[in-house]
């Protein structure tokens, strides 16, 4: 599996994400936002957490219009995989690769703590290593993680089994407790919690490790 991790000015989880991919056995290439294209043979694009472009205008909005995101969109539209975490999820909604948007947390506070997540579906390369309804502990660290989708979109997400994770105890006001959603082809996942921060015993938890191991299982080239 060859993973590309995008790096924007203000990304700060890019190396954590690269480390999690590498620990699962992937080859990782870091890709600067000004690049026009992805390296040849990339299986999955990681869009990391952080504060791309200082969160100016809206979280993820400037990054979504950067040169590399044109390549990211083309990759996803060809059926390529992508994983957006935290700010990366915001970028994926801004590119419209995923539906909905992330608003300011309902309590207006930046929240940084480990929270229990409920696995909404095991039917994806990202989540097949978990069981549906399994509860896993993953850290969150965000100010704008309050997921919004209108009723029609929400109904479609439910109907198509595209809610990857929900919060067991909703910390931020997200509609339907949503913490992460899949694209219609189930190959793009965006989530506010940080699985890459729970992927090594030294992190204090390893519940995120299975996501990277699971991706490796499914995307390892024959």
């Amino acid at each position: 599996m060859h993973a590309a991790v995008l790096v924007f000015p203000g990304s700060n989880c890019d190396r954590d994400l690269a480390t999690a991919f590498e620990a699962a056995g992937a080859k990782v290439t870091m890709v600067w936002h000004k690049e026009q294209g992805l390296p040849a043979g990339v299986d999955i694009v990681g869009v990391p957490g952080g504060f791309s472009y200082g969160d100016y205008l809206r979280c993820g909005a400037i990054a979504a219009n950067s040169p590399i995101c044109g390549a990211l969109k083309a990759h996803a539209e060809r059926g390529g995989y992508a994983l957006g975490i935290c700010n990366g999820f915001q970028v994926l909604t801004e590119t419209r690769l995923l539906p909905g948007a992330l608003r300011r947390n309902a309590n207006l506070k930046y929240i940084c703590k480990t929270v229990p997540l409920v696995v909404g579906t095991a039917d994806s390369a990202f989540t097949h290593g978990y069981a549906k309804d399994q509860v896993i502990d993953i850290p969150i660290a965000h100010h704008d993680g309050n997921y919004y989708a209108d009723d029609a979109t929400l109904a479609r997400l439910l109907d198509q089994d595209r809610i990857a994770f929900t919060y067991a105890d909703n910390p931020n006001g997200s509609v339907a407790d949503i913490a992460g959603v899949l694209s219609e082809n189930r190959r793009v996942l965006g989530m506010m919690p940080h699985p890459e921060r729970a992927a090594d015993p030294a992190h204090g938890g390893t519940d995120g490790k299975q996501m990277f191991a699971g991706l490796m299982d499914q995307l390892a080239t024959a």
Binding site: R58, N65, N105, L108, G173
Partner: protein, 76 residues
Amino acid sequence: MKARVHVMLKNGVLDPQGEAVKHALGALGFDGVEGVRQGKVIELDLAEGTTEQTVTEMCEKLLANTVIESYTVEIA
């Protein structure tokens, strides 16, 4: 020429910042504030002849996230 773009959260999308401002106004003793919505104003300096339609495209592509925000364009 100048254009001014107002971006607001759509009606029906909860605005927690507006709610917090409303509570703060109440705490200061301002009675009768029944609702507060917070948005942003973006002022653009534009080459003469730029059309309103171009500014609308800017809003659709970048200045507003039309999933949750609505916008209005004023050409000055």
